[in-house]
Symmetry: none
Subunit: 240 residues, 2 copies
């Protein structure tokens, strides 16, 4: 994908709704493709990659759950946002079980739809960073070297580190704002998403883990600095 922004595939049999959704996604700057049924969608996905699939549940032929299932069993992990006519909670569970990432009942508010799209892409964007900036795929600071694509790092002392997903995401957000203050709330929203609510102490814990991994003296951090009462600040150069 050579586009600066990730592409979205909309699978929806109602042409009017499909057009409206596509329109709004384009307005957000995403390239959009549309399909009218599940078979077409699977065929398209056989030849294209995309960043998000917006998938109606009620489709002619294969339903959305089946499409998602088929994708997942092919090893395709593209995030899926289900749309459904009913608001039945059981459907939500079915959707999530089928491997979907989020679920929205029709009729939905456009704003809410876009919000969820943004949330999902924010969550997944960084996974497929290969297509984003290559520069941020590898981070170097204070003798440490982190490869975000593999969640792998080599610490300053040569020790190999396997980062967990959350550790990597937090580090990434901090590094993207190197030198700036990032509040715990910002971190929570960027890493966990807008609708998940761990306590802010959880953030502290991950900072602690990052310090243990990458600071020469975790008690006197030079890269992961605390900004009292506000949040944290990452410095790649190292504090004096």
């Amino acid at each position: 994908m050579n586009s600066a922004r990730p592409a979205v595939l909309v699978v929806e049999d109602d042409p009017h709704l499909a057009a409206g959704v596509a329109e709004n996604l384009r307005a957000e700057g995403y390239p959009v493709a549309t399909c009218g049924d599940g078979e077409q969608a699977l065929a398209w996905l056989g030849g294209h990659a995309c960043a998000l699939i917006v998938l109606d549940v009620m489709l002619p032929g294969m339903d959305g759950f089946a499409v998602c299932h088929a994708l997942r069993s092919q090893g395709n992990n593209t995030p899926v946002l289900f749309l459904t006519a009913r608001g039945d909670p059981a459907d939500r569970v079915r959707g999530l079980e089928a491997g979907g990432d989020d679920y929205l009942a029709k009729p939905f508010h456009l704003q809410e739809f876009l919000l969820r799209v943004r949330a999902i892409l924010r969550r997944w964007d960084w996974y497929r960073n290969a297509s984003a900036t290559a520069a941020t795929a590898v981070l170097r600071f204070g003798g440490n070297e982190v490869d975000f694509r593999a969640f792998r790092a080599r610490a300053w002392n040569g020790e190999a580190q396997e980062l967990t997903e959350k550790e990597a995401m937090i580090l990434k957000v901090l590094a993207e704002h190197a030198g700036e203050i990032v509040s715990r709330e910002d971190l929570l929203e960027r890493v966990w998403g807008y609708d998940v609510f761990p306590s802010t102490r959880t953030v502290d814990n991950f900072i602690l883990r990052l310090r243990k991994r990458f600071e020469q003296d975790p008690a006197n951090p030079r890269h992961f600095l605390t900004v009292w009462g506000v949040g944290y600040r990452f410095l790649s150069e190292g504090a004096p």
Copy 2:
């Protein structure tokens, strides 16, 4: 709107809070309008455009969710930042699903509030290809250099300084009014915000700390001047 910077509408029934928020937004350089309830807000928005709506959830008459809902159904996509008394996570979701863009629980830190406003407007600017510069991020005076984004400074003697939140904010307010007299009450209002009332002696203390950090001779200040019986005045050039 003839101003180069986008306007902000504050919808808040507590006049004191409204004044504090408005004051701080103006200090950031945004034109600000305020409304005391939802009906007024909708009426105002019928005739004006703005870049951001800061919307209290608990309002007399229509609550904030309803206001936001009404706006969205009119096709108005102006970003909304909700303020609420409760920190209930469910409220956050409600706010976001009502079409809000962000959400802040009272009592909030001014710093956090401003961070979020900036974040939202950055997004807004982005979509409109505008290039509004954020408020001055770096301040230089008398050989000192202060980075407000990081609460960090290098003093005239080369010494690195880590400012606290309050120190940074006081310095920022003073610097924004360089050459003008700023009363202690002004500083309290702008730095401490809407629901805290320390004595004016507290302000003196912070002036003292700033002098120690940045004046070559703290006892004979050239930048942080006392205006007897009124307040303080900051000079970036240095007094004779």
